[in-house]
Symmetry: C2
Subunit: 207 residues, 2 copies
């Protein structure tokens, strides 16, 4: 019996915010709606305020990461795939450094946790396949190795994308992942091969 929210406005604002983030424009309540034809109140009806908008943008960030993970092909080599996922993680963060910062800046709530868990699940499954294929010891806990891989990826990329270390530092990902996977039971020589293959995955260049 009343008018309904136009979903197009919501996506418009989110995409515009993401674009402004990429182009380094300050994202404020007024600058966000300027030129879109919608008024500042749209931010409140759709997001409840700027905080809600940032939260929605954080969700959008995880969604993009999710789709990027989904684009990583599954091969016969789980260790390669796991490395490729980490590589995709780095590529995503480098392509959208400000969005990546937003994703991990604010305090997490349950909804964010769900999004984070969903993306982490990709890593978990890759570890499970690696364990099933005998690459990792049978006592390997998939979630644990997945979290460790995530920590390596996040540590490297956040020190590079929004930190003091130069970009080439990301190359350390290769020996770090290799050490991690060998520590989990993989054969050193084969692991080096797999990590090398997964690392050089086609990484879409930043736009």
């Amino acid at each position: 019996m009343a008018r309904t929210k136009d979903p197009a406005v919501r996506t418009l604002l989110i995409e515009r915010a993401a674009h402004m983030l990429r182009t380094r424009e300050p994202v404020t309540l007024r600058s966000l709606v300027a030129g879109t034809g919608v008024s500042t109140m749209a931010v409140y009806t759709h997001f409840g305020g700027m905080d809600g908008m940032w939260k929605a943008l954080r969700q959008e960030g995880f969604t993009r990461l999710e789709s990027r993970f989904a684009a990583v092909a599954t091969s016969q080599d789980p260790v390669r795939d796991l490395t490729a996922l980490v590589s995709a993680y780095l590529g995503n963060a480098l392509d959208h450094p400000d969005l990546y910062r937003v994703m991990f800046d604010a305090s997490f709530d349950l909804e964010d946790l769900k999004a984070a868990d969903a993306t982490l699940e990709h890593l978990v499954q890759a570890v499970e396949r690696g364990r099933g294929a005998g690459r990792f010891r049978s006592d390997t806990v998939p979630l644990e190795l997945a979290v460790q891989s995530w920590a390596v990826a996040h540590g490297l990329v956040s020190l590079v994308a929004n930190g003091p270390l130069p970009r080439q530092t990301l190359d350390h990902g290769v020996p770090m992942l290799t050490s991690l996977f060998v520590g989990a039971g993989d054969d050193p020589a084969g692991c080096r091969l797999s990590v090398g293959n997964g690392w050089r995955q086609p990484r879409p260049s930043g736009g």
Copy 2:
């Protein structure tokens, strides 16, 4: 020929800002100087503005980390010491999570780089001693293994202190460092012992 800046004002403001950060009070230009007797302009004469204040606070954060590193005793076991440094790094970040966030939030400039390098130097020297003691392969590049240890520490603690992962995730530091050091040439059994010893260093509980 003119009045001199009172250094006490500068340290007063920085310490007050750090305290407000710890007590979760919003740190604004006016709230920072409220009740101190100094006016808002003091922030401009001493720091050039709020940005300069945050930068100074970032320096303070590195200074505290530095002193914490200096408190880590040097033993006959370089691998233990390196682990103890990482453990101290985590303890510092957990004790001052908001200060830690400030340290790595803003964009780094040369001055910040110097501070970061100075603290990183502790890790580098520990790696050098480890290589000298034959724990790491002779082709180990100290700076590289130090950076990798840093990435592990930062990745873990930033995902825990200001991220989605629970605190016990920090325990992953043990297997991660062990894998890293074994990958650098250390003997697995001895490494586990050293990491175990370094990890349980007396970690001052958060104030």
